[in-house]
Symmetry: C2
Subunit: 296 residues, 2 copies
Protein backbone atom coordinates (compact mmCIF):
# COMPACT_ATOMS: atom_id res chain seq x y z
CA UNK A 1 0.00 0.00 0.00
CA UNK A 2 3.07 2.28 -0.10
CA UNK A 3 1.88 3.74 -3.40
CA UNK A 4 -1.41 4.84 -1.82
CA UNK A 5 0.48 6.60 0.96
CA UNK A 6 2.64 8.35 -1.60
CA UNK A 7 -0.47 9.38 -3.56
CA UNK A 8 -2.35 10.62 -0.51
CA UNK A 9 -1.40 14.29 -1.11
CA UNK A 10 -2.79 13.96 -4.66
CA UNK A 11 -6.01 12.44 -3.35
CA UNK A 12 -6.33 15.28 -0.87
CA UNK A 13 -5.65 17.82 -3.64
CA UNK A 14 -8.43 16.35 -5.78
CA UNK A 15 -10.79 16.56 -2.81
CA UNK A 16 -9.89 20.19 -2.23
CA UNK A 17 -10.58 21.02 -5.88
CA UNK A 18 -13.96 19.25 -5.74
CA UNK A 19 -14.83 20.96 -2.48
CA UNK A 20 -13.92 24.34 -3.93
CA UNK A 21 -15.90 23.91 -7.14
CA UNK A 22 -19.08 22.17 -5.96
CA UNK A 23 -21.89 24.54 -4.94
CA UNK A 24 -22.13 25.02 -1.16
CA UNK A 25 -24.65 23.13 0.97
CA UNK A 26 -26.48 26.32 1.85
CA UNK A 27 -26.89 27.41 -1.77
CA UNK A 28 -30.35 26.88 -3.22
CA UNK A 29 -31.49 24.20 -4.12
CA UNK A 30 -29.99 22.96 -0.85
CA UNK A 31 -31.13 19.33 -1.04
CA UNK A 32 -29.55 18.77 -4.46
CA UNK A 33 -26.32 20.54 -3.49
CA UNK A 34 -26.07 18.59 -0.25
CA UNK A 35 -26.59 15.33 -2.14
CA UNK A 36 -23.99 16.28 -4.79
CA UNK A 37 -21.41 16.97 -2.10
CA UNK A 38 -22.39 13.95 -0.01
CA UNK A 39 -21.78 11.55 -2.89
CA UNK A 40 -18.76 13.25 -4.47
CA UNK A 41 -16.85 14.00 -1.30
CA UNK A 42 -17.52 10.66 0.40
CA UNK A 43 -14.45 8.58 1.17
CA UNK A 44 -12.97 7.45 -2.12
CA UNK A 45 -9.67 6.68 -3.81
CA UNK A 46 -10.12 9.32 -6.56
CA UNK A 47 -8.41 6.82 -8.87
CA UNK A 48 -9.61 8.41 -12.12
CA UNK A 49 -8.37 11.96 -11.48
CA UNK A 50 -5.15 10.53 -10.03
CA UNK A 51 -4.66 8.41 -13.16
CA UNK A 52 -5.07 11.56 -15.26
CA UNK A 53 -2.57 13.51 -13.17
CA UNK A 54 0.01 10.71 -13.07
CA UNK A 55 -0.34 10.21 -16.83
CA UNK A 56 0.22 13.91 -17.42
CA UNK A 57 3.49 13.62 -15.48
CA UNK A 58 4.83 11.23 -18.10
CA UNK A 59 4.69 13.97 -20.71
CA UNK A 60 5.28 17.13 -18.74
CA UNK A 61 7.28 17.87 -15.62
CA UNK A 62 5.00 20.53 -14.24
CA UNK A 63 1.45 19.24 -13.66
CA UNK A 64 0.12 21.51 -10.93
CA UNK A 65 -2.62 22.94 -13.15
CA UNK A 66 -3.85 19.49 -14.27
CA UNK A 67 -5.59 18.59 -10.99
CA UNK A 68 -8.27 21.33 -11.09
CA UNK A 69 -9.42 19.96 -14.47
CA UNK A 70 -8.80 16.25 -13.85
CA UNK A 71 -10.78 16.35 -10.59
CA UNK A 72 -13.93 16.84 -12.69
CA UNK A 73 -13.68 13.21 -13.83
CA UNK A 74 -14.56 12.20 -10.27
CA UNK A 75 -17.89 14.02 -10.66
CA UNK A 76 -18.73 11.85 -13.68
CA UNK A 77 -17.78 8.78 -11.66
CA UNK A 78 -19.92 9.94 -8.71
CA UNK A 79 -22.90 10.62 -10.97
CA UNK A 80 -22.66 7.11 -12.40
CA UNK A 81 -22.53 5.56 -8.93
CA UNK A 82 -25.61 7.47 -7.76
CA UNK A 83 -27.66 6.36 -10.76
CA UNK A 84 -26.32 2.78 -10.68
CA UNK A 85 -27.39 2.47 -7.04
CA UNK A 86 -31.01 3.53 -7.70
CA UNK A 87 -33.80 1.07 -6.87
CA UNK A 88 -34.60 0.64 -10.57
CA UNK A 89 -30.95 -0.24 -11.25
CA UNK A 90 -28.74 -2.15 -8.79
CA UNK A 91 -30.86 -1.15 -5.78
CA UNK A 92 -27.92 -0.79 -3.41
CA UNK A 93 -28.16 0.63 0.10
CA UNK A 94 -24.51 1.11 0.98
CA UNK A 95 -21.71 2.83 -0.94
CA UNK A 96 -18.31 3.99 0.26
CA UNK A 97 -19.35 2.95 3.76
CA UNK A 98 -22.39 5.23 3.96
CA UNK A 99 -26.02 4.99 2.82
CA UNK A 100 -26.38 5.43 -0.95
CA UNK A 101 -27.60 8.81 -2.20
CA UNK A 102 -31.24 7.80 -2.65
CA UNK A 103 -31.26 6.18 0.80
CA UNK A 104 -29.99 9.41 2.33
CA UNK A 105 -31.91 11.96 0.23
CA UNK A 106 -34.74 10.14 -1.53
CA UNK A 107 -34.97 9.02 -5.14
CA UNK A 108 -35.97 12.30 -6.77
CA UNK A 109 -33.04 14.20 -5.25
CA UNK A 110 -30.69 11.32 -6.11
CA UNK A 111 -31.68 11.29 -9.80
CA UNK A 112 -31.30 15.07 -9.99
CA UNK A 113 -28.03 15.16 -8.03
CA UNK A 114 -26.61 12.61 -10.48
CA UNK A 115 -27.82 14.67 -13.43
CA UNK A 116 -26.35 17.80 -11.88
CA UNK A 117 -22.95 16.19 -11.24
CA UNK A 118 -22.68 15.25 -14.91
CA UNK A 119 -23.26 18.83 -16.08
CA UNK A 120 -21.13 20.14 -13.21
CA UNK A 121 -18.20 18.07 -14.50
CA UNK A 122 -18.32 19.90 -17.83
CA UNK A 123 -18.70 23.26 -16.09
CA UNK A 124 -15.66 22.46 -13.94
CA UNK A 125 -13.53 21.48 -16.92
CA UNK A 126 -14.44 24.71 -18.70
CA UNK A 127 -14.05 27.03 -15.73
CA UNK A 128 -10.84 25.56 -14.33
CA UNK A 129 -9.45 24.85 -17.77
CA UNK A 130 -9.75 28.51 -18.77
CA UNK A 131 -8.41 29.71 -15.42
CA UNK A 132 -5.30 27.57 -15.77
CA UNK A 133 -4.59 28.59 -19.34
CA UNK A 134 -5.39 25.44 -21.31
CA UNK A 135 -6.19 26.02 -24.96
CA UNK A 136 -9.77 25.88 -26.21
CA UNK A 137 -8.72 23.01 -28.50
CA UNK A 138 -7.37 20.95 -25.58
CA UNK A 139 -10.51 21.54 -23.51
CA UNK A 140 -12.77 20.54 -26.40
CA UNK A 141 -10.78 17.32 -26.72
CA UNK A 142 -11.15 16.65 -23.01
CA UNK A 143 -14.92 17.18 -23.17
CA UNK A 144 -15.11 15.01 -26.26
CA UNK A 145 -13.22 12.15 -24.56
CA UNK A 146 -15.37 12.29 -21.44
CA UNK A 147 -18.75 12.69 -23.11
CA UNK A 148 -18.01 9.72 -25.35
CA UNK A 149 -16.74 7.59 -22.44
CA UNK A 150 -19.79 8.43 -20.33
CA UNK A 151 -22.33 8.06 -23.15
CA UNK A 152 -24.47 5.32 -24.62
CA UNK A 153 -21.49 3.82 -26.45
CA UNK A 154 -19.43 3.84 -23.24
CA UNK A 155 -20.32 3.60 -19.57
CA UNK A 156 -24.07 3.49 -20.15
CA UNK A 157 -23.75 0.52 -22.54
CA UNK A 158 -21.94 -1.39 -19.80
CA UNK A 159 -24.49 -0.50 -17.14
CA UNK A 160 -27.56 -1.54 -19.13
CA UNK A 161 -26.03 -4.84 -20.27
CA UNK A 162 -24.89 -5.48 -16.70
CA UNK A 163 -28.45 -5.06 -15.40
CA UNK A 164 -29.91 -7.11 -18.22
CA UNK A 165 -27.44 -9.95 -17.63
CA UNK A 166 -28.46 -10.43 -13.99
CA UNK A 167 -29.38 -14.04 -13.32
CA UNK A 168 -28.68 -15.07 -16.91
CA UNK A 169 -26.09 -17.37 -18.42
CA UNK A 170 -23.08 -15.26 -19.38
CA UNK A 171 -20.09 -15.91 -21.58
CA UNK A 172 -16.62 -14.36 -21.50
CA UNK A 173 -17.44 -12.04 -24.44
CA UNK A 174 -20.40 -10.50 -22.65
CA UNK A 175 -18.43 -10.18 -19.43
CA UNK A 176 -15.64 -8.37 -21.23
CA UNK A 177 -18.15 -6.14 -23.08
CA UNK A 178 -19.81 -5.14 -19.81
CA UNK A 179 -16.59 -4.37 -17.98
CA UNK A 180 -14.87 -2.69 -20.91
CA UNK A 181 -17.82 -0.31 -21.22
CA UNK A 182 -18.89 0.08 -17.60
CA UNK A 183 -15.43 0.58 -16.14
CA UNK A 184 -12.79 0.55 -18.86
CA UNK A 185 -14.05 3.46 -20.96
CA UNK A 186 -13.82 6.02 -18.16
CA UNK A 187 -10.41 4.74 -17.02
CA UNK A 188 -9.12 4.98 -20.58
CA UNK A 189 -10.64 8.44 -20.95
CA UNK A 190 -8.96 9.49 -17.69
CA UNK A 191 -5.46 8.64 -18.84
CA UNK A 192 -6.18 10.18 -22.24
CA UNK A 193 -7.37 13.40 -20.60
CA UNK A 194 -4.13 13.56 -18.63
CA UNK A 195 -2.10 12.98 -21.77
CA UNK A 196 -4.07 15.56 -23.78
CA UNK A 197 -3.70 18.22 -21.09
CA UNK A 198 0.03 17.53 -20.97
CA UNK A 199 0.34 17.86 -24.74
CA UNK A 200 1.24 14.22 -25.51
CA UNK A 201 1.69 13.16 -29.13
CA UNK A 202 -0.06 10.40 -31.08
CA UNK A 203 2.28 7.61 -29.91
CA UNK A 204 2.02 8.65 -26.28
CA UNK A 205 -1.78 8.80 -26.48
CA UNK A 206 -1.89 5.31 -28.01
CA UNK A 207 0.32 3.85 -25.31
CA UNK A 208 -1.57 5.33 -22.39
CA UNK A 209 -4.89 4.31 -23.99
CA UNK A 210 -3.79 0.68 -24.04
CA UNK A 211 -2.55 1.05 -20.47
CA UNK A 212 -5.86 2.60 -19.37
CA UNK A 213 -7.90 -0.15 -20.97
CA UNK A 214 -5.92 -2.92 -19.27
CA UNK A 215 -5.88 -0.99 -16.00
CA UNK A 216 -9.68 -0.92 -16.22
CA UNK A 217 -9.88 -4.66 -16.78
CA UNK A 218 -7.52 -5.42 -13.91
CA UNK A 219 -9.48 -3.03 -11.69
CA UNK A 220 -12.75 -4.76 -12.53
CA UNK A 221 -11.43 -8.27 -11.97
CA UNK A 222 -10.08 -7.26 -8.57
CA UNK A 223 -13.41 -5.53 -7.86
CA UNK A 224 -15.22 -8.79 -8.56
CA UNK A 225 -12.75 -10.65 -6.33
CA UNK A 226 -13.32 -8.12 -3.53
CA UNK A 227 -17.05 -8.78 -3.74
CA UNK A 228 -16.27 -12.40 -2.82
CA UNK A 229 -13.35 -11.99 -0.44
CA UNK A 230 -13.48 -8.37 0.71
CA UNK A 231 -14.37 -7.06 4.13
CA UNK A 232 -17.42 -4.83 3.80
CA UNK A 233 -16.11 -2.63 6.62
CA UNK A 234 -13.14 -1.82 4.35
CA UNK A 235 -14.78 -1.91 0.89
CA UNK A 236 -17.73 0.17 2.06
CA UNK A 237 -20.08 -2.10 0.08
CA UNK A 238 -22.07 -5.12 1.26
CA UNK A 239 -19.96 -8.24 0.75
CA UNK A 240 -21.37 -10.81 -1.70
CA UNK A 241 -23.77 -8.31 -3.30
CA UNK A 242 -22.80 -9.30 -6.88
CA UNK A 243 -23.25 -12.98 -6.05
CA UNK A 244 -26.64 -12.34 -4.50
CA UNK A 245 -27.81 -10.65 -7.70
CA UNK A 246 -26.20 -13.36 -9.85
CA UNK A 247 -24.19 -10.64 -11.59
CA UNK A 248 -21.78 -11.30 -14.42
CA UNK A 249 -18.43 -11.50 -12.61
CA UNK A 250 -15.00 -13.00 -13.26
CA UNK A 251 -15.03 -15.37 -10.25
CA UNK A 252 -18.44 -16.67 -11.30
CA UNK A 253 -17.26 -17.36 -14.83
CA UNK A 254 -13.61 -18.34 -14.28
CA UNK A 255 -13.29 -19.32 -10.58
CA UNK A 256 -11.57 -17.18 -7.98
CA UNK A 257 -8.12 -18.67 -8.52
CA UNK A 258 -8.17 -18.17 -12.28
CA UNK A 259 -9.48 -14.62 -11.82
CA UNK A 260 -6.56 -13.75 -9.58
CA UNK A 261 -4.15 -15.12 -12.15
CA UNK A 262 -5.83 -13.09 -14.91
CA UNK A 263 -5.51 -9.93 -12.84
CA UNK A 264 -1.79 -10.55 -12.28
CA UNK A 265 -1.25 -11.15 -16.00
CA UNK A 266 -2.99 -7.93 -16.92
CA UNK A 267 -1.03 -5.98 -14.36
CA UNK A 268 2.20 -7.25 -15.94
CA UNK A 269 0.95 -6.37 -19.40
CA UNK A 270 -0.04 -2.85 -18.34
CA UNK A 271 3.27 -2.28 -16.57
CA UNK A 272 5.19 -3.40 -19.65
CA UNK A 273 3.46 -0.77 -21.82
CA UNK A 274 4.69 2.04 -19.61
CA UNK A 275 8.13 0.62 -18.80
CA UNK A 276 9.80 2.61 -21.63
CA UNK A 277 8.59 5.84 -19.97
CA UNK A 278 10.34 5.14 -16.63
CA UNK A 279 11.13 6.83 -14.32
CA UNK A 280 8.30 9.28 -15.20
CA UNK A 281 5.87 6.35 -15.28
CA UNK A 282 7.01 4.78 -11.99
CA UNK A 283 3.98 5.90 -9.99
CA UNK A 284 1.52 4.73 -12.64
CA UNK A 285 3.19 1.34 -12.76
CA UNK A 286 3.16 1.12 -8.96
CA UNK A 287 -0.54 2.00 -9.02
CA UNK A 288 -1.48 -0.80 -11.40
CA UNK A 289 0.75 -3.22 -9.45
CA UNK A 290 -1.19 -2.39 -6.30
CA UNK A 291 -4.54 -3.53 -7.79
CA UNK A 292 -4.26 -7.28 -6.98
CA UNK A 293 -3.53 -6.41 -3.34
CA UNK A 294 -6.20 -3.80 -2.86
CA UNK A 295 -8.65 -4.23 -0.01
CA UNK A 296 -11.13 -1.52 -1.04
Amino acid sequence: MIILDRLEPLRALVDRELDAFLPGETERPEAVHRAMRYSSLARGKRLRPILAILTARIFRGETEEIAPVAAAIELIHSYSLIHDDLPCMDDDDLRRGVPTCHKAFGEAVAVLAGDALLTCAFEMILANGRKHGFSAEALLSVISELSRAAGSRGMIAGQIEDIQSEGKEIDPDLLRYIHHHKTGCLFTASVRVGAILAGAGEKGLDDVSRFGDIFGQAFQITDDILDVEGDSAVTGKPQGSDQQKAKATYPRLFTLEKSKQMAREQVDEAAAILAPYAPASDDLIALVRYLPDRTS
Copy 2:
Protein backbone atom coordinates in the same frame (compact mmCIF):
# COMPACT_ATOMS: atom_id res chain seq x y z
CA MET B 1 -50.69 29.44 -36.47
CA ILE B 2 -49.20 30.83 -39.69
CA ILE B 3 -45.81 31.17 -38.02
CA LEU B 4 -45.75 27.44 -37.23
CA ASP B 5 -46.48 26.62 -40.87
CA ARG B 6 -43.65 28.93 -41.93
CA LEU B 7 -41.31 27.28 -39.42
CA GLU B 8 -42.26 23.72 -40.42
CA PRO B 9 -39.21 23.30 -42.73
CA LEU B 10 -36.98 24.33 -39.82
CA ARG B 11 -38.68 21.85 -37.50
CA ALA B 12 -38.19 19.12 -40.09
CA LEU B 13 -34.53 20.12 -40.51
CA VAL B 14 -33.94 19.81 -36.77
CA ASP B 15 -35.56 16.37 -36.83
CA ARG B 16 -33.33 15.27 -39.70
CA GLU B 17 -30.23 16.41 -37.81
CA LEU B 18 -31.33 14.54 -34.68
CA ASP B 19 -32.15 11.43 -36.69
CA ALA B 20 -28.75 11.55 -38.39
CA PHE B 21 -26.76 12.01 -35.19
CA LEU B 22 -28.54 9.72 -32.74
CA PRO B 23 -27.21 6.12 -32.68
CA GLY B 24 -29.37 3.72 -34.71
CA GLU B 25 -31.95 1.45 -33.10
CA THR B 26 -30.00 -1.67 -34.06
CA GLU B 27 -26.76 -0.42 -32.52
CA ARG B 28 -25.88 -2.00 -29.19
CA PRO B 29 -27.15 -1.30 -26.51
CA GLU B 30 -30.39 -1.46 -28.52
CA ALA B 31 -32.83 -0.75 -25.68
CA VAL B 32 -31.12 2.49 -24.69
CA HIS B 33 -30.75 3.66 -28.30
CA ARG B 34 -34.38 2.86 -29.06
CA ALA B 35 -35.47 4.80 -25.98
CA MET B 36 -33.25 7.77 -26.86
CA ARG B 37 -34.75 7.95 -30.34
CA TYR B 38 -38.29 7.29 -29.11
CA SER B 39 -38.20 10.26 -26.75
CA SER B 40 -36.16 12.68 -28.87
CA LEU B 41 -37.90 12.08 -32.17
CA ALA B 42 -41.46 12.00 -30.77
CA ARG B 43 -43.78 14.67 -32.10
CA GLY B 44 -42.56 18.01 -30.80
CA LYS B 45 -42.30 21.66 -31.70
CA ARG B 46 -38.48 21.76 -31.44
CA LEU B 47 -38.94 25.27 -30.02
CA ARG B 48 -35.49 25.52 -28.42
CA PRO B 49 -33.41 24.69 -31.51
CA ILE B 50 -35.73 26.85 -33.61
CA LEU B 51 -35.26 29.74 -31.19
CA ALA B 52 -31.49 29.33 -31.55
CA ILE B 53 -31.65 29.28 -35.34
CA LEU B 54 -34.03 32.25 -35.59
CA THR B 55 -31.86 34.23 -33.17
CA ALA B 56 -28.78 33.48 -35.25
CA ARG B 57 -30.60 34.96 -38.26
CA ILE B 58 -30.74 38.33 -36.51
CA PHE B 59 -26.97 38.56 -36.56
CA ARG B 60 -25.99 36.68 -39.68
CA GLY B 61 -27.69 36.16 -43.02
CA GLU B 62 -26.43 32.65 -43.64
CA THR B 63 -27.44 30.25 -40.89
CA GLU B 64 -27.46 26.88 -42.63
CA GLU B 65 -24.68 25.47 -40.45
CA ILE B 66 -26.37 26.55 -37.18
CA ALA B 67 -29.06 23.83 -37.21
CA PRO B 68 -26.72 20.83 -36.85
CA VAL B 69 -25.38 22.35 -33.62
CA ALA B 70 -28.61 23.94 -32.34
CA ALA B 71 -30.52 20.67 -32.73
CA ALA B 72 -28.47 19.29 -29.83
CA ILE B 73 -30.43 21.54 -27.46
CA GLU B 74 -33.46 19.35 -28.14
CA LEU B 75 -31.55 16.37 -26.71
CA ILE B 76 -31.07 18.25 -23.43
CA HIS B 77 -34.78 19.08 -23.41
CA SER B 78 -35.69 15.43 -24.13
CA TYR B 79 -33.42 14.19 -21.36
CA SER B 80 -35.07 16.54 -18.88
CA LEU B 81 -38.55 15.37 -19.91
CA ILE B 82 -37.63 11.70 -19.50
CA HIS B 83 -36.27 12.24 -15.99
CA ASP B 84 -39.10 14.62 -14.99
CA ASP B 85 -41.65 11.97 -15.97
CA LEU B 86 -40.10 9.22 -13.79
CA PRO B 87 -42.24 7.69 -11.02
CA CYS B 88 -40.02 9.28 -8.36
CA MET B 89 -40.54 12.72 -9.96
CA ASP B 90 -43.77 13.78 -11.66
CA ASP B 91 -44.85 10.17 -12.32
CA ASP B 92 -46.44 10.92 -15.70
CA ASP B 93 -47.70 8.27 -18.10
CA LEU B 94 -48.26 10.32 -21.23
CA ARG B 95 -45.98 12.74 -23.06
CA ARG B 96 -46.23 14.15 -26.57
CA GLY B 97 -49.23 11.90 -27.11
CA VAL B 98 -47.41 8.63 -26.42
CA PRO B 99 -46.47 6.65 -23.28
CA THR B 100 -43.61 8.25 -21.36
CA CYS B 101 -40.17 6.69 -21.75
CA HIS B 102 -40.28 4.63 -18.53
CA LYS B 103 -43.78 3.40 -19.42
CA ALA B 104 -42.52 2.21 -22.79
CA PHE B 105 -39.06 0.91 -21.82
CA GLY B 106 -38.98 0.50 -18.05
CA GLU B 107 -37.40 2.73 -15.44
CA ALA B 108 -33.78 1.57 -15.72
CA VAL B 109 -33.66 2.16 -19.47
CA ALA B 110 -35.42 5.51 -19.05
CA VAL B 111 -32.91 6.78 -16.47
CA LEU B 112 -30.01 5.66 -18.68
CA ALA B 113 -31.55 6.99 -21.91
CA GLY B 114 -31.93 10.39 -20.22
CA ASP B 115 -28.33 10.27 -19.01
CA ALA B 116 -27.18 9.28 -22.48
CA LEU B 117 -29.10 12.08 -24.21
CA LEU B 118 -27.39 14.65 -22.01
CA THR B 119 -23.91 13.43 -22.95
CA CYS B 120 -25.03 12.92 -26.55
CA ALA B 121 -25.96 16.61 -26.73
CA PHE B 122 -22.39 17.61 -25.92
CA GLU B 123 -21.02 15.06 -28.39
CA MET B 124 -23.32 16.44 -31.08
CA ILE B 125 -22.26 20.03 -30.44
CA LEU B 126 -18.60 19.04 -30.67
CA ALA B 127 -18.89 16.79 -33.71
CA ASN B 128 -21.21 19.00 -35.77
CA GLY B 129 -19.57 22.18 -34.57
CA ARG B 130 -16.16 21.06 -35.82
CA LYS B 131 -17.62 19.73 -39.07
CA HIS B 132 -19.24 23.07 -39.81
CA GLY B 133 -16.19 25.13 -39.01
CA PHE B 134 -17.14 26.86 -35.77
CA SER B 135 -14.20 28.03 -33.68
CA ALA B 136 -13.16 26.11 -30.58
CA GLU B 137 -13.86 29.27 -28.56
CA ALA B 138 -17.44 29.50 -29.83
CA LEU B 139 -18.09 25.82 -29.12
CA LEU B 140 -16.71 26.10 -25.59
CA SER B 141 -19.06 29.04 -25.01
CA VAL B 142 -22.00 27.01 -26.30
CA ILE B 143 -21.15 24.10 -24.00
CA SER B 144 -20.68 26.50 -21.10
CA GLU B 145 -24.11 28.11 -21.68
CA LEU B 146 -25.89 24.78 -21.92
CA SER B 147 -24.17 23.01 -19.04
CA ARG B 148 -24.94 25.96 -16.78
CA ALA B 149 -28.57 26.16 -17.95
CA ALA B 150 -29.07 22.42 -17.46
CA GLY B 151 -27.24 22.22 -14.12
CA SER B 152 -28.11 22.53 -10.46
CA ARG B 153 -28.26 26.32 -10.69
CA GLY B 154 -30.58 26.10 -13.70
CA MET B 155 -33.13 23.55 -14.87
CA ILE B 156 -32.46 21.13 -12.01
CA ALA B 157 -33.10 23.83 -9.40
CA GLY B 158 -36.50 24.45 -10.98
CA GLN B 159 -37.39 20.77 -11.11
CA ILE B 160 -36.57 20.00 -7.48
CA GLU B 161 -38.38 23.07 -6.12
CA ASP B 162 -41.33 22.23 -8.37
CA ILE B 163 -41.57 18.73 -6.88
CA GLN B 164 -41.08 19.99 -3.36
CA SER B 165 -43.78 22.64 -3.78
CA GLU B 166 -46.46 20.10 -4.70
CA GLY B 167 -49.50 20.48 -2.45
CA LYS B 168 -47.92 23.35 -0.52
CA GLU B 169 -48.86 27.02 -0.23
CA ILE B 170 -46.95 28.90 -2.89
CA ASP B 171 -46.23 32.57 -3.41
CA PRO B 172 -45.44 34.49 -6.60
CA ASP B 173 -41.71 34.55 -5.82
CA LEU B 174 -41.48 30.77 -5.60
CA LEU B 175 -43.59 30.37 -8.74
CA ARG B 176 -41.27 32.68 -10.65
CA TYR B 177 -38.19 30.94 -9.24
CA ILE B 178 -39.47 27.53 -10.36
CA HIS B 179 -40.40 28.63 -13.85
CA HIS B 180 -37.37 30.82 -14.39
CA HIS B 181 -35.13 27.85 -13.59
CA LYS B 182 -37.15 24.95 -14.92
CA THR B 183 -38.08 26.52 -18.25
CA GLY B 184 -36.52 29.96 -18.60
CA CYS B 185 -32.87 29.01 -18.26
CA LEU B 186 -32.86 26.64 -21.24
CA PHE B 187 -34.87 29.06 -23.40
CA THR B 188 -32.44 31.84 -22.56
CA ALA B 189 -29.49 29.54 -23.24
CA SER B 190 -31.05 28.60 -26.59
CA VAL B 191 -31.22 32.16 -27.89
CA ARG B 192 -27.75 32.86 -26.50
CA VAL B 193 -26.36 29.79 -28.28
CA GLY B 194 -27.84 31.06 -31.55
CA ALA B 195 -26.36 34.51 -30.96
CA ILE B 196 -22.94 33.11 -30.02
CA LEU B 197 -22.79 30.86 -33.10
CA ALA B 198 -23.72 33.85 -35.27
CA GLY B 199 -21.00 35.99 -33.71
CA ALA B 200 -23.26 38.50 -31.94
CA GLY B 201 -21.68 41.22 -29.81
CA GLU B 202 -22.27 42.08 -26.16
CA LYS B 203 -25.33 44.28 -26.79
CA GLY B 204 -26.94 41.69 -29.04
CA LEU B 205 -26.35 38.94 -26.48
CA ASP B 206 -27.90 41.08 -23.74
CA ASP B 207 -30.98 41.83 -25.82
CA VAL B 208 -31.66 38.26 -26.85
CA SER B 209 -31.05 37.08 -23.28
CA ARG B 210 -33.80 39.37 -22.01
CA PHE B 211 -36.02 38.20 -24.85
CA GLY B 212 -35.31 34.54 -24.05
CA ASP B 213 -36.09 35.00 -20.38
CA ILE B 214 -39.45 36.64 -21.08
CA PHE B 215 -40.21 34.12 -23.82
CA GLY B 216 -39.67 31.40 -21.24
CA GLN B 217 -42.04 33.05 -18.77
CA ALA B 218 -44.73 33.54 -21.40
CA PHE B 219 -44.26 29.93 -22.52
CA GLN B 220 -44.68 28.66 -18.98
CA ILE B 221 -47.77 30.74 -18.24
CA THR B 222 -49.42 29.49 -21.42
CA ASP B 223 -48.31 25.96 -20.50
CA ASP B 224 -50.09 26.29 -17.16
CA ILE B 225 -53.17 27.66 -18.94
CA LEU B 226 -53.13 24.71 -21.36
CA ASP B 227 -53.14 22.31 -18.42
CA VAL B 228 -56.49 23.83 -17.44
CA GLU B 229 -58.03 24.57 -20.81
CA GLY B 230 -56.13 22.39 -23.28
CA ASP B 231 -57.34 19.35 -25.17
CA SER B 232 -55.16 16.41 -24.17
CA ALA B 233 -55.55 14.97 -27.68
CA VAL B 234 -53.72 18.07 -28.92
CA THR B 235 -51.33 18.78 -26.02
CA GLY B 236 -50.29 15.13 -25.77
CA LYS B 237 -50.44 15.36 -21.97
CA PRO B 238 -53.29 14.44 -19.60
CA GLN B 239 -55.43 17.52 -19.05
CA GLY B 240 -55.58 18.83 -15.47
CA SER B 241 -52.46 16.93 -14.40
CA ASP B 242 -50.90 19.98 -12.69
CA GLN B 243 -54.14 20.66 -10.82
CA GLN B 244 -54.38 17.07 -9.70
CA LYS B 245 -50.89 17.24 -8.20
CA ALA B 246 -51.61 20.68 -6.72
CA LYS B 247 -48.61 22.03 -8.64
CA ALA B 248 -47.45 25.61 -8.44
CA THR B 249 -49.12 27.20 -11.48
CA TYR B 250 -50.10 30.68 -12.63
CA PRO B 251 -53.85 29.95 -12.86
CA ARG B 252 -53.79 28.53 -9.34
CA LEU B 253 -52.06 31.60 -7.95
CA PHE B 254 -53.48 34.39 -10.14
CA THR B 255 -56.72 33.01 -11.72
CA LEU B 256 -57.02 32.02 -15.35
CA GLU B 257 -58.06 35.47 -16.56
CA LYS B 258 -55.18 37.27 -14.87
CA SER B 259 -52.74 34.61 -16.15
CA LYS B 260 -53.86 35.23 -19.73
CA GLN B 261 -53.38 38.95 -19.28
CA MET B 262 -49.89 38.39 -17.86
CA ALA B 263 -48.97 36.23 -20.84
CA ARG B 264 -50.13 38.95 -23.25
CA GLU B 265 -48.14 41.60 -21.40
CA GLN B 266 -44.99 39.52 -21.51
CA VAL B 267 -45.43 38.82 -25.18
CA ASP B 268 -45.63 42.56 -25.83
CA GLU B 269 -42.55 43.16 -23.71
CA ALA B 270 -40.56 40.45 -25.50
CA ALA B 271 -41.62 41.70 -28.93
CA ALA B 272 -40.57 45.24 -28.02
CA ILE B 273 -37.03 44.10 -27.18
CA LEU B 274 -36.52 42.69 -30.65
CA ALA B 275 -38.43 45.38 -32.60
CA PRO B 276 -35.22 47.34 -33.33
CA TYR B 277 -33.83 44.28 -35.13
CA ALA B 278 -36.73 44.05 -37.61
CA PRO B 279 -37.09 42.71 -40.24
CA ALA B 280 -34.44 40.10 -39.26
CA SER B 281 -36.32 39.51 -36.00
CA ASP B 282 -39.78 39.19 -37.60
CA ASP B 283 -40.01 35.41 -37.19
CA LEU B 284 -38.87 35.50 -33.57
CA ILE B 285 -41.47 38.16 -32.78
CA ALA B 286 -44.15 36.15 -34.60
CA LEU B 287 -43.14 33.11 -32.57
CA VAL B 288 -43.53 34.82 -29.21
CA ARG B 289 -46.81 36.37 -30.38
CA TYR B 290 -48.14 32.91 -31.13
CA LEU B 291 -47.67 31.68 -27.54
CA PRO B 292 -51.02 32.94 -26.10
CA ASP B 293 -52.87 31.16 -28.92
CA ARG B 294 -51.00 27.90 -28.80
CA THR B 295 -53.00 24.71 -28.38
CA SER B 296 -50.10 22.36 -27.67
